[in-house]
């Protein structure tokens, strides 16, 4: 074997056999794409620090820390009495443990090798790591659907697509970070199983499905998409023994494994969301049996048997399903998933689901902002899939169409759309480039000018033009994605920054300042009341008991807190004594101009507070002016100007100058001077206000020493 000690440089590269060049190129592109997907998610770590972002990730971080310190059995049986006081929360049974187990596993492995990385850093960097893995899995998946070229384009596009980056940036330690990887892995194994019909791939698919179920509630999408695919194959007449084998393996093993997660429990056989999978499984068995009979019986015997059996089984199955639903054995669709089918359901019935900004329908501009070029190449990819329809292509077409619908209904599900957009656009771009590259005239030495094809004038020029335009599109896509990642999706939310008048950077670290004040200056068993947004952060950083948090599982309890915030001091004091509240925390943005503060969220507190019977005296119209406006100045409604939330936010604010040329007490978010300025608090006393007045903490006064 000749060793490569002789020729170096570009000649050596060209002297390699095409096979080796091909492999080297593929490996290089994939490696660069994987490294790119990791590095593009690091903006906030470089600009601020390695810190967990937002709200939900703090809960995941706290549970991961608990798992890493206490071990799996304590984690699985954990009853948390520091949240939802006085109810508590069964954490072991109400979370998807995949994320925490993955992080704790990586943490223990690294520490075993004496690479001492802290749990927090493992959590911060887990999502970028898994996005690298996702890039690689996308390559393999698209390779199965089309070819390696399309796979490389799809992988490169997925590395930087903003729709996926938004939920997997470094610091965003949430379920979606690993869920997308698990989802694409499951789909890859499913496609392999469908193509080969072997139990091996089917079982691998079930194991990947188990990992998916353990990581995200969105697994319901998978367990409905795969049966839908099988159904589509049946309808188009492509059902064969391979699909039968693949689906039977995946459904049985996958469902059994998915029921091992305590949160899922027996839902796969009881809830309507899983019934489609069961139905298609039954249909598969019937179809397989029918095919078997057809091969054994004569024609007349077969048709008679077939018709009578179909009638019989049809009526039995339908009757059974109807009886089971009527008796309540099969539960109807849960609120969160039902609102995907009927978007107006949440708005009319469950204000908590309607109030979350991630659950709103997606705007047109969001699609372009998150996907840019992919929006246009998606139909092109669909077209190329239809030109060469295979079993696998039908799957990706269905995945694309269903996820477009769901992404349109809820903006959070844009995340599920991003990978399929990348795959189909990859197929589209690759097909276009391959088609036009063939037309290129590559005679450099002009020895034999190619005879111009009379039926296709300007073949070479058009090919050059199309390839140039496509390259320009891809370059613009890259610039757009990097700009969006840098400007829109890299803010930690817990640390804010702004440019001062002289261009210097001002950091607002008020949230952590307030939480650490709580941690060091309040008794261990103090209960803190705040709106549910901040619950997870308070338990994770301040380590104090809270009343309501982001899990929002108990609407009545949240409604009680809403009533306390929206009532006058006396009525609120009754509620606070009833719930043993020691401290109250509010977010106020009037001094800095921070617009996501509690006054802007106040109307939701009113709506949720008034939605249960004990809050029937709270009516939203009372908080508006007679003209129907929500104002905090002198024209504002007196109910609003005297409620607890108003008083807590604007206590002593009336004496502060916020902007030059404006009177004291000028609220920089609502852009008016506040109405109720000089008042004293009766039942609270101010405990702490942070540097920029962003977080204000009040202590609830004890009962009077002598009775009234």
């Amino acid at each position: 074997m000749k060793t490569a000690s002789g020729s170096w440089g570009p000649q050596w590269l060209l002297r390699m056999s095409p096979d080796k060049q091909d492999t080297l190129l593929k490996m290089m592109v994939l490696a660069i794409a994987a490294v790119l997907s990791f590095s593009t998610r690091l903006f906030s770590v470089l600009r601020f620090e390695s810190v967990i972002h937002e709200f939900d990730p703090y809960f995941n971080y706290r549970t991961t820390r608990f798992l890493a310190e206490e071990g799996f059995y304590n984690f699985h049986n954990w009853f948390d009495d520091r949240a939802w006081y006085p109810l508590g929360r069964i954490i072991g049974g109400t979370i998807y443990p995949g994320l925490m187990v993955t992080s704790a596993g990586i943490y223990h492995l690294l520490n075993f090798l004496n690479i001492t990385i802290d749990v927090r850093n493992v959590c911060v960097f887990l999502a970028p790591l898994f996005s690298s893995f996702t890039t690689i899995v996308t390559f393999f998946l698209t390779k199965e659907l089309k070819d390696a070229g399309a796979g490389l384009v799809a992988a490169a596009m997925l590395a930087i697509v903003p729709g996926y980056i938004s939920r997997s940036v470094a610091g965003s330690y949430d379920n979606e970070g690993i869920a997308i990887f698990c989802m694409l892995l499951t789909y890859y194994f499913w496609i392999k199983a469908v193509k080969t019909g072997s139990i091996y791939w089917g079982t691998l698919c079930s194991l990947a499905y188990f990992y998916m179920v353990s990581s995200w509630g969105g697994y319901v999408f998978l367990i409905n998409l795969i049966p839908l695919h099988v159904l589509a194959l049946m309808i188009t007449g492509r059902f064969s023994h391979r699909i039968y084998l693949a689906y039977s393996t995946v459904y049985t093993v996958g469902t059994l494994l998915s029921m091992q997660i305590s949160f899922v429990g027996f839902q796969p056989v009881q809830s309507s969301e899983h019934m489609a999978a069961l139905g298609v499984f039954g249909l598969c068995q019937i179809w397989g049996f029918v095919d078997y009979l057809r091969s054994k019986l004569s024609y007349e015997q077969f048709t008679l048997l077939f018709r009578s059996l179909v009638l019989l089984t049809g009526t039995i199955a339908f009757g059974a399903a109807a009886v089971a639903t009527a008796m309540g054995k099969i539960s109807p669709w849960t609120g969160r998933f039902y609102s995907l089918l009927d978007p107006s359901y949440a708005k009319n019935n469950i204000p908590i689901i309607a109030s979350v900004s991630e659950h709103q329908p997606t705007t047109w501009s969001s699609f372009y902002f998150d996907l840019q070029l992919l929006v246009f190449m998606f139909p092109v990819g669909l077209y190329f899939c239809f030109t060469k329809l295979t079993d696998a292509n039908i799957f990706i077409v269905m995945y694309g169409v269903t996820s477009i619908y769901f992404a349109g209904v809820m903006v959070r599900l844009m995340l599920v759309l991003a990978p399929v957009m990348c795959i189909l656009s990859g197929i589209g771009v690759s097909s276009i480039l391959t088609a036009y590259m063939k037309n290129l005239d590559t005679n450099r030495k002009d020895k034999k000018p190619k005879k111009p094809d009379s039926s296709y004038p300007l073949k070479n020029e058009i090919a050059n033009g199309v390839i140039l335009i496509m390259t320009a599109f891809l370059i613009m896509y890259t610039f757009h994605c990097t700009w969006v990642t840098s400007e829109a999706y890299s803010s930690p939310s817990i640390v804010l920054s702004a440019r001062g008048g002289d261009g210097s950077r001002i950091i607002f670290d008020d949230f952590r300042e307030a939480y650490y004040w709580l941690r060091h200056n309040t008794p261990e068993d103090a209960k803190v009341m705040s709106w549910w947004d901040y619950g997870y952060q308070i338990t994770a950083m301040a380590n104090r008991t809270i009343l309501v948090d982001n899990n929002t599982w108990n609407n009545t309890h949240i409604s009680r807190v809403g009533q306390a915030m929206a009532s006058t001091e006396e009525k609120a004091y009754e509620i606070m004594r009833e719930l043993d509240v020691g401290y109250v925390l509010v977010i106020f943005g009037g001094l800095t101009g921070y617009s996501s503060d509690d006054i802007n969220k106040f109307l939701w507190m009113v709506r949720i507070g008034g939605s249960t019977d004990r809050g029937a005296h709270i009516k939203e119209m009372d908080y508006y002016t007679p003209q129907g406006e929500f104002r905090v100045d002198k024209e504002g409604s007196p109910t609003l100007l005297n409620c607890l939330m108003y008083k807590m936010c604007y206590y002593r604010f009336g004496a502060v100058y916020t902007e030059s040329g404006k009177p004291t007490g000028y609220d920089r978010v609502r852009n008016t001077e506040i109405g109720n300025k000089d008042f004293e608090l009766d039942v609270l006393e101010e405990a702490y206000t942070t540097e920029h007045w962003l977080v204000r903490i009040y202590k609830v006064k004890d009962l009077e020493n002598r009775g009234a």
Binding site: A4, S17, L24, M27, I117
Partner: protein, 79 residues
Amino acid sequence: MDIESMNRYVSPINPAVFPHLTVVLLGIGIFFMAWFFVYEVTSTKFTRDLYKELSVSLVASVFMGFGVLFLLLWVGIFV
């Protein structure tokens, strides 16, 4: 053992050199690793040579190992 009599720990390699060492060692390591992978993917049962495989992979793993060590030290994970 009181803390005053102990000597302050000084790294045997100047920390300012960590980035350069990382890039050089990892670069060479990745080159050999790519060579090894391409060789494995494109060779058949008959053309494969054990000694070539072993030597390339040995060199690759040595350089990658040290490269990763200096990468960790450069990033701040002091192993």
